[in-house]
């Protein structure tokens, strides 16, 4: 167990501890600020790290990545704005909780769940880094496609009242994902001759538009209808304190989210946002109170928050052993290793084992640090924010949304996309279309298409490749089974409803 001496040496190094605390704080702030993401912060801070020792530089950036993923939940809960893409799923229940005056409670659930998920991911990484890398290598395009297929089932669980509208929303998401370059032939599709569109529609501006601007527009409309807008519920001590009784039902969701996130972390490139949505969908499917989800269920915060942080640890395995970054943060970390002359790859654990385990140790300490700051600081932040009157808050949110959309890629075009997406989101809300299904399918469609077509190239066009490979087959069966299960459930509900009508 190389991790224990590593932990010991990290704890006894005051400078390193200071770096961890600083990184946890910086990460939380950038995560919580819509428009600043952990990856943008890391990219900005990268030049500074040239002059640090490698461990210092890596620990600093790694912890920023972790606490940034967590910090995103703060903005999601308070403003219905995902501070990072990873926290988009947290809004679904986090924001209604804040509106009910329970912002502090929601943030504490987010904190505990993030810490649980993150620690689960890190333990898995420390115990099974070699094993994880071996799995990652076994997953070729057919297996990855099957996993995407299984993930698509999640959409079924977030579909609300209307199946037709839910499926239409998912289809729209797939259509929007098709814009840009064909993943295989690199030819332009649906770009209408616009150079900007050839880059595709960015996830960040799309999400901010649909979730945030859509919400702002909806609020504006409400205000015009109802003059003398009532202020959001004052937060009370009761709304900010969390009891063990309240967290208890969240625990299974946090653990499940941790496993889902860790599993997704193994697959390079799926990322925190998908993990959060899958965990949310899965949580809702298994919840005892699914009708509460989306209206302010604490479990609906726990499930995605545990999952998006659990991605962090395991995603380091393919990065360190295969040089495949699973995220933007991973790509930058890879650069740091190389800039400091450390060759990433299978030999890393022979040449720089001590450094790697010290880095893992720093990550674990970082989790505890942001957990403590978050748990005790979140309530204060929530109190402050909720004192802001809505007529000040909404313009502020509006502004941060613009900054966020612009800063993700430094592109004015993204601001246009966000505005357009805002109107789409508002219209979808108005007519009860399903925004979550739209975003999830947008995220999944790209990877699903790419891996599907890669598989067909490998097999010369034969679909049998998915059945001939056991791992792929297992996931396909899993997905199909879940869909069948879901359809049966829906039919049952209908029968009951019809039966009820017949009796009347």
């Amino acid at each position: 167990m190389e991790i224990f001496p590593a932990l010991l040496s990290v704890i006894t190094d005051p400078m390193l501890l200071f770096a961890i605390v600083l990184a946890a704080t910086v990460g939380m702030i950038v995560g919580a600020t819509p428009g600043l993401t952990a990856s943008a912060a890391i990219a900005m801070l990268l030049p500074i790290t040239f002059y640090m020792s490698p461990l210092f530089a890596l620990a600093f950036l790694y912890v920023i990545g972790k606490s940034g993923r967590y910090g995103g939940s703060i903005a999601a809960i308070l403003f219905n704005t995902p501070g990072t893409a990873a926290s988009a799923a947290t809004q679904i229940d986090g924001y209604p909780l804040a509106r009910a005056g329970k912002a502090g409670k929601a943030m504490k659930v987010a904190t505990i769940s993030s810490v649980i998920g993150d620690l689960m991911g890190d333990v898995l990484l420390v115990v099974g880094v070699g094993f994880i890398a071996a799995i990652a290598l076994k997953l070729g395009p057919p297996e990855t496609f099957a996993i995407y297929f299984a993930a698509f089932v999640v959409i079924g669980s977030v579909i609300g009242e209307s199946i037709v509208k839910g499926l239409a929303s998912a289809l729209l998401g797939i259509l929007v994902a098709m814009v840009g370059l064909d993943p295989i032939s690199s030819e332009e599709r649906y770009t209408f001759g616009s150079f900007d569109l050839s880059n595709g529609i960015g996830l960040v501006p799309l999400m901010i538009g649909v979730f945030v601007l859509g919400e702002v527009f909806a609020q504006l409309e409400e205000r015009r209808k109802a003059t003398g807008e009532t202020k959001e519920n004052e937060s009370s001590a009761d709304g900010n304190d969390l009891t063990w009784e309240e967290y208890k039902p969240c625990l299974p969701h946090a653990f499940r989210g941790g496993f889902i996130g860790a599993g997704i972390g193994v697959l390079p490139g799926l990322g925190s946002a998908i993990a959060a949505f899958i965990s949310y969908g899965e949580g809702k499917r298994r919840a005892k109170n699914p009708e509460q989800w989306g209206k302010g269920a604490l479990e609906g915060v726990a499930a995605p928050e545990a999952a998006n942080n659990a991605v962090s640890g395991p995603s380091m395995a393919p990065l360190l052993t295969l040089g495949i970054p699973g995220s933007t943060i991973g790509a930058i970390l890879l650069g740091v290793f190389l800039i400091h002359g450390i060759q990433v790859g299978p030999t890393l654990f022979l040449t720089d084992k001590e450094l790697v385990y010290k880095l893992f140790a720093c990550g674990m300490l970082g989790i505890l640090v942001y957990g403590l700051i978050g748990y005790f600081g979140a309530t204060q932040v929530a109190r402050l924010i909720l004192k802001i009157p809505t007529n000040v808050l909404y313009p502020l949110i509006f502004m941060t949304a613009f900054v966020a959309a612009y800063s993700a890629r430094g592109s004015m075009f993204d601001v246009t996309v966000m505005t357009f997406a805002g109107f789409v989101g508002w219209l979808m809300r108005k007519h009860d279309f399903n925004i979550a299904a739209f975003v999830i399918s947008f995220v999944l469609a790209k990877g699903a298409e790419e891996t599907f077509r890669q598989s067909l190239l490998m097999s010369d066009g034969g679909a049998l490749i998915f059945v001939e490979r056991p791992i792929a087959l297992a996931f396909l069966i899993l997905g199909a089974g879940a869909i069948a299960f879901r359809i049966r459930g829906i039919l049952k509900e209908r029968k009951l409803a019809q039966g009820g009508l017949g009796d009347a």
Binding site: A43, L46, P47, F50, A136, L137, K138, L139, G140, P141, L181, P183, I184, S185, S186, E188, G193, F195, S198, N199, P268, G269, P318, L322, G323, I324, P325, T328, A331, I332, L333, L334, G335, L338, I339, G341, I342, Q343, V344, G345, P346, T347, L348, R409, G410, E450, Q454, L457, M458, D460
Partner: protein, 319 residues
């Protein structure tokens, strides 16, 4: 009368502008230089830019700031630099081969040879033919024989259609009269992983991708007349006597069209000094790459020659 004053005013203006340019060029650089990299942080070109930025200390009096503008196969960043003020404070460092090919295959007004001033070449990225360590192919000839024995049965991986690894691979296939189905992956890392995981029979990827993966991969040949300067253990197609297409990717620094000649010359001289620094080579060594310097005029000639070489292959791509 009026017209005359206008003309003289205009002339005076031109004269002023000219002196301004001259004096302006003389005290360049006085603020940080933005070096735009049209790829993600952490990639091969990005590593060169960051090494330049670190090694510029003591040669240029101002910091060199690396700005990543990824997207559209490098054209996104190129577009932003084409429109930048030609004042010597915005430049672009790009993977010349990929940049050239994307201007040939994509619908764009940018011409790789004419839209920018060539400042200098500081590095070189080479593609190479690799197989998994457990592959039955021990030599390039083995690959060619297997492809000929059962045409169309082999699969090969690369990092994206239209990139220089893909075009290099196509050149190898075409020049040896063999066929194989390509499977594109997103970028070098995933391509390497796919090859290690034996998702494809062989692949074309950067020769530097071998560094640290010698136990998982076997590089059969580097796509050039001579061996790579850093990865010296890998034989070259040229020495093996196997036909190939001379497509590589010189890492070149470009300035916006119209940047004063003195500024371009000063930057060229600075880059020559920077790329000669031992520190620069050390920073790149761990990535399996190294300094390869050429002045702006030579870099332009190299790229022109490559354009002629690649034209028929690009033709086959786009049709």
């Amino acid at each position: 009368m009026k017209r005359r004053t206008l003309i003289s005013a205009a002339l005076a203006g031109i004269a002023l502008a000219a002196t301004a340019t001259a004096s302006f060029a003389a005290d360049w650089p006085k603020r940080p230089i933005n070096l735009v990299v049209p790829y993600k942080a952490g990639g091969g070109t990005d590593a060169y830019a960051r090494a330049i930025s670190a090694a510029a200390d003591g040669i240029l009096d101002v910091p060199v700031v690396v700005v990543n503008k990824p997207g559209s196969g490098g054209l996104n960043g190129a577009n932003s630099v084409v429109g930048a003020r030609p004042d010597g404070y915005t430049m672009m460092m790009t993977s010349g081969g990929s940049f050239l090919l994307s201007t040939m295959t994509r619908d764009t007004d940018i011409d790789a040879l004419d839209s920018f001033e060539f400042v200098a070449q500081v590095g070189q990225l080479q593609t190479s033919l690799m197989v998994s360590k457990s592959s039955p192919f021990q030599s390039v000839q083995d690959v060619i024989d297997a492809a000929k024995a059962d045409p169309g049965s082999l699969r090969w991986a690369h990092s994206g259609r239209g990139g220089f690894h893909h075009v290099g691979g196509l050149g190898f296939l075409a020049n040896n009269g063999i066929e194989a189905q390509d499977v594109p992956f997103k970028g070098g890392g995933p391509t390497r992983a796919a090859l290690i995981g034996e998702q494809a029979d062989f692949g074309f990827l950067g020769v530097q991708q071998l560094a640290g993966f010698e136990d998982q991969l076997r590089a059969l040949a580097v796509n050039g007349q001579e061996r790579d300067g850093i990865m010296t253990d890998v034989p070259a197609f040229g020495e093996l006597g196997i036909p190939f297409a001379a497509v590589s990717s010189p890492v070149i620094v470009f300035a916006p069209k119209g940047t004063p000649a003195e500024v371009v010359a000063a930057m060229e001289a600075a880059l020559a000094q920077i790329s000669a620094k031992p520190e620069f080579a050390e920073l790149l060594a761990s990535r399996g790459t190294g300094p390869v310097y050429q002045n702006g005029a030579d870099a332009k000639a190299t790229l022109s020659a490559m354009k002629e070489d690649a034209a028929p292959l690009v033709e086959s791509l786009t049709n």
